[in-house]
């Protein structure tokens, strides 16, 4: 097998682009939040400035090896997730490993980073971090139920677990999963809100209450790497949901539009809602979204 330079370049460039897009969205979200709250807010490039500043910090402290490696776990998971995602339909450049993984693999690899982060946060000894992790993991059990229901329904509908093939099924506007499988998509999108961690499901990070929870002991290069990871991960999540529910994207502009709209959806839901307590959000997901997801599964089972 000849060595494919384009592919190698793709491996390097994809995370960079993802990171850039992620930071931009984060900047935009701060701006939009501010405008909604009738503030002026920081510039869009604020996130870039923050991360560059953190990278250039000369000192750093840690509480041990696990905290040292936590951000590495996170970035590993983010980039690996991204590499196994078909970012743009049929693009060789962005294809990376997307033929060699499937949805269930993605679900699992996405946890890898969270686990690493949780371990790193745990070692800091800060009770706020531990509380944050406890809440975050508990919430995850909540939203994973409708989430997996939606994904399983879609996998069965598409008769494939591979994301490439799931995108291929959604050829044409009318074949998008949101229209093909409205119930599953509804359950999936409600779970997606939990995945993004904005209000009302932001109790694990609650800045005012927990001092941002898990990341509260991270600074300097550690925080910088974590933020980079977060930007990539945010983008990866958006791409995943676009691929699964909105037919993927055939070019970069389409991708940006779709992901940004999806991002705004989570943001706006958050802006108009107060914060749920942990058990409230878990019970929320175990009620309606789960019921909807179950219905979707029943429908798929009945059809096929």
């Amino acid at each position: 097998m000849s060595f494919d330079w384009i592919k190698l370049l793709g491996f390097i460039v994809t995370p960079l682009i993802a990171s850039a897009v992620g930071f931009t969205y984060m900047g935009l979200s701060r701006k939009i939040t501010a405008r909604v709250q009738n503030r002026i807010g920081p510039g869009i490039s604020q996130s870039f400035i923050d991360v560059v500043k953190l990278y250039s910090k000369k000192t750093a402290i840690n509480h041990g090896l696990m905290q040292h490696m936590g951000p590495v776990f996170a970035i590993t998971a983010s980039i690996t997730t991204l590499l196994f995602l078909p970012v743009i339909k049929d693009s060789i450049f962005f294809a990376n490993f997307s033929f060699r993984g499937d949805l269930i693999f993605l679900i699992y690899i996405m946890v890898f980073g969270q686990l690493g982060m949780a371990l790193g946060a745990g070692q800091t000894g800060n009770p706020n971090s531990a509380i944050g992790v406890s809440r975050g993991l508990s919430q995850m059990v909540g939203f994973k139920v409708p989430y997996v229901m939606a994904l399983v329904a879609i996998m069965i509908h598409a008769k494939s677990t591979n994301l490439q093939e799931i995108i291929a099924v959604q050829d044409g506007f009318r074949n998008w999963m949101v229209f093909q499988m409205p119930l599953a998509s509804l359950a999936g999108l409600l779970a997606y809100l939990g995945y993004m961690g904005y209000a009302p499901f932001d109790v694990p990070f609650a800045p005012a209450e927990l001092a941002s929870g898990p990341p509260s002991e991270f600074g300097g290069k550690y925080l910088a790497l974590m933020m980079t990871s977060r930007s990539i991960f945010t983008f990866a999540k958006l791409v995943l949901f676009v691929d699964v529910f909105f037919g993927g994207a055939s070019n970069f502009i389409e991708l940006l539009i779709k992901t940004f709209l999806l991002y705004l959806f989570a943001l706006f839901v958050g802006l108009v809602n107060p914060r749920f307590r942990t058990e409230q959000s878990i019970q929320f997901w175990w009620k309606w979204p789960t019921a909807i997801g179950a219905l979707a599964l029943l429908l798929v089972a009945w059809k096929g």
């Binding site: 531990a130 069965i156 058990e279 878990i282």
Partner: protein
């Protein structure tokens, strides 16, 4: 050595070994360690060398024809027994050092291993049951090893085992009444001639028997306490291998005996759902445990649930997944119990509310537990992922949509208890009281790290297990199964390439690690866990900053409705009512001679009056 390569020799060495160790302990305690080591290694080596198609051994005992032999299926399990058996024995050498009643301990320990060899090599139902019962009572002796606190656990274990064993026995003698021959071969021949009802009864009884050992809900109530009570080296073997004997038997019953139960049969579906519910509830219970071993015990119950789901579904892929998970569970659960056991050995505590911050004191145990929890969680790239992936994909492709949701929920909730396990013990605040703790001796950490290495190898090259599993499945009656060394694929043709996964993860991880280590290498400081951000106030030395008690209170509140009913309580009330009934019946024996005389007369009168009805002759 050549002459010893047959099953009777191996079993004889193994059983005689257990007695020899006991005698050695009485006579020459100094040689005990050497003898124990020798008598575990020799049978294990012989089992390893045993050819897959070694000739069957036939003999007659008590009027029955018995036979022992090997096949790919038994070889797979015998290697698991040998491997984990040897490692846990080595581990026990240091763990049990200076403990009392070591002769008794090793007698039961080696007898359990020997009995398990016997179970997998049995080619007839009587030897199977015979060894099964020996395994039961020898493991029972180990459960009650730390005598005082464990009586309840031991008796519960024994009674449940007895019920299971008697279900097994009923099935065996019922089958025998049709076959007149106890050998598996004859059984397989006769099975197709039985009616569906008979077959179903036999299957259910067998599954009940094997289900008890693999702690299938609702027959699981013995397991948490029994796992908790046994000494850690044995718990590793108990949960890792002994519970697999139930899986071994279920595999035989579901595929070899009951060829008539095609996939989708009601018994299979019910069993699969029982497995699914076991997985879910086991996980939820594990989340609320504050005792490390009890947490792992519930985790074990849950993991066995996954395996049973795979077996019950019965498609080639799901069975592959189940057996793979069974082997993986043998590896990772033993290593977790060993890791937690090491902590117990050094600190004397298993209380998650009490332990904290041991990572720098016991780094190797930490690595073991870390690898263990990653494997349990099924996160790539370790071996646990392979098993989970195969199982989920097999469920999805065989239309078990809701079951896959149940399992997914369970494995998501598993993160909760896994994180709590590692966080409470190794992470968090480092407390003064644990400053003196040291890592365990190499005798203990070498086996742990060997197992940890296995989880990595099986993640990258799962094919080393797929090969033997495929052969075993062919023995069970499946067609030839395609497998590849490191690519997983499902019936729809989708695949996961573990080599790409490991390439990506390893590259990024190493680059990231290099980056974060090199950058500001000199100006990166290590600070203690007391030096943390607490809104401007410096915590003092005595301030308790450990967050461990009621770690998952919010989740508990959310999940409260699920836990309203407890099976344990149901059994307890059943037992209580039964005893009351027995107590009433006991008063038939009034202790009064007149009453007894009256009984005699009444009995005589009844016999005479109803003689026609009783003896079929009119007076």
């Amino acid at each position: 050595m050549e002459q010893l390569l047959n099953i009777p020799a191996i079993l004889a060495i193994a059983f005689a070994g257990s007695i020899l160790v006991f005698v050695t302990h009485l006579v020459l305690p100094r040689l005990r360690t050497a003898v124990v080591l020798l008598l575990t290694l020799v049978p294990a080596y012989l089992v390893w060398q045993l050819p897959v198609d070694s000739p069957m051994v036939y003999f007659s005992l008590g009027g029955f024809d018995l036979s022992w032999g090997t096949n790919p299926y038994s070889r797979l399990f015998s290697l698991l027994i040998a491997g984990i058996g040897v490692l846990s024995t080595i581990y026990s050498l240091a763990f049990m050092k200076n403990k009392a009643r070591l002769g008794f301990f090793y007698l039961a320990f080696l007898a359990t291993i020997a009995a398990m060899y016997g179970i997998v090599f049995s080619q007839d139902l009587l030897s199977l049951f015979f060894f099964w019962e020996i395994m039961t009572w020898s493991s029972f002796l180990l459960v009650i090893y730390y005598r005082f606190e464990n009586q309840q656990a031991g008796i519960r274990y024994f009674v449940f085992s007895a019920v299971g064993a008697y279900a097994l026995l009923t099935a065996i003698v019922y089958l025998y009444s049709f076959t007149g021959d106890l050998s598996l071969a004859a059984t397989f021949r006769v099975i197709p001639q039985l009616s569906t009802t008979q077959l179903s009864w036999i299957t259910v009884l067998f599954l009940l028997g094997f289900g008890v050992k693999s702690a299938l809900m609702p027959m699981h109530v013995w397991a948490p306490d029994a796992y908790r009570s046994a000494p850690s080296p044995f718990t590793a073997l108990f949960s890792g291998v002994l519970s697999k004997m139930g899986v071994f038997g279920m595999g035989l019953v579901l595929f070899k005996f009951m060829g008539g139960l095609e996939p989708g049969h009601i018994i299979r579906e019910v069993l699969a759902w029982m497995g699914g519910i076991t997985a879910l509830l086991g996980t939820f219970y594990a989340v609320f445990q504050t005792d490390a071993k009890k947490l792992l015990a519930y985790s074990s119950i849950a993991q066995l649930g996954y395996i049973i789901v795979g077996l019950a579904i019965g498609t080639p892929m799901s069975v592959m997944a189940a057996i793979f998970l069974a082997l993986m569970h043998g590896i990772f659960k033993s290593m977790l119990f060993m890791g937690v056991g090491s902590v117990f050995h050094q600190t004397g505590s298993l209380d998650l509310n009490e332990l904290t911050g041991l990572i720098r004191r016991m780094p190797l145990s930490f690595v073991t537990v870390l690898m263990g929890i990653i494997t349990v969680a099924g996160v790539p790239p370790l071996g646990g992922f392979v098993g989970k992936w195969l199982l989920y994909e097999s469920l999805i492709t065989s239309n078990h949509y809701f079951l896959v949701i149940v399992l997914f929920t369970s494995s998501t909730a598993a993160f909760l208890y896994l994180y709590r396990l590692i966080f409470s013990i190794f992470l968090g605040q480092e407390e003064r009281e644990f400053d003196h703790i040291k890592e365990v001796s190499w005798v203990m950490w070498v086996p742990m790290l060997i197992l940890a290495g296995m989880t990595l190898v099986t993640g990258i090259l799962p094919g080393i297990f797929f090969g033997p599993i495929a052969e075993a499945m062919q023995y069970l009656g499946f067609p030839q199964i395609d497998w590849q060394m490191s690519v997983l694929f499902n019936p729809w043709g989708n695949q996961v390439d573990m080599l790409s996964v490991i390439t990506s993860i390893a590259t990024v991880f190493l680059l990231g690690l290099a980056f974060i280590t090199w950058k500001n290498f000199r100006t990166t400081r290590y600070v203690t866990t007391k030096d943390i951000h607490t809104s401007g106030e410096m915590p003092t030395e005595n301030e308790n900053l450990t967050y461990a008690i009621d770690f998952y209170r919010p989740f508990e509140r959310a999940a409260a409705p699920i836990f309203k009913y407890k099976v344990t309580r149901m059994y307890a009330s059943f037992a209580e009512n039964a005893e009351h009934l027995f107590d009433l019946l006991r008063h038939v024996y009034t202790g009064n001679a007149q009453t007894y005389a009256l009984y005699v007369v009444i009995f005589l009168v009844i016999l005479i009056v109803f003689s026609g009805w009783i003896f079929g002759i009119q007076i």
